[in-house]
Symmetry: C2
Subunit: 84 residues, 2 copies
């Protein structure tokens, strides 16, 4: 794996793991007033398409990163509906 691919992998890890503090905060504080439902719905749909794209181009990093991000966004959607 060359340096450019490592850069891409680090980027993928950050834009996936980045949602963890938000999920944790929302889960702890049980408040979603300031969270945009539209944003999470659109991001979730986008990530589902990235996941399909990753499968179609046979890219494990794209598929895996978006599978995890999809789970985190889906969890945020559940919290948003639960704690309106």
């Amino acid at each position: 794996m060359d340096k450019i691919e490592i850069l891409g992998m680090v980027a993928a890890v950050l834009t996936t793991a980045g949602y963890v503090p938000q999920v944790y905060k929302t889960w702890q504080e049980k408040s979603t007033k300031d969270i945009s439902l539209s944003t999470y719905l659109i991001l979730f749909l986008g990530v589902l398409l990235w996941f399909a794209y990753g499968l179609l181009i046979d890219s494990l990093p794209v598929t895996l990163a978006n599978a995890i991000t999809g789970c985190l966004l889906f969890f945020m959607l559940i919290l948003k509906f639960k704690y309106k």
Copy 2:
């Protein structure tokens, strides 16, 4: 552009445009209590790396999508610091 690339482009548009409703909501409501600062800092750093990756692999879609997403996330960070 084949069907798979169109799918990737739609995915990129969604995961970029997805942040617009959040920025608009936060800008209107001036409240960021439920927004995780860590999440936006990590996502912003990740998107900067995706932008650099896009430049290095000469991919206009990756570079452009992440430049726009970076601006939206930066705007959210400003709002988060302004409306603590």
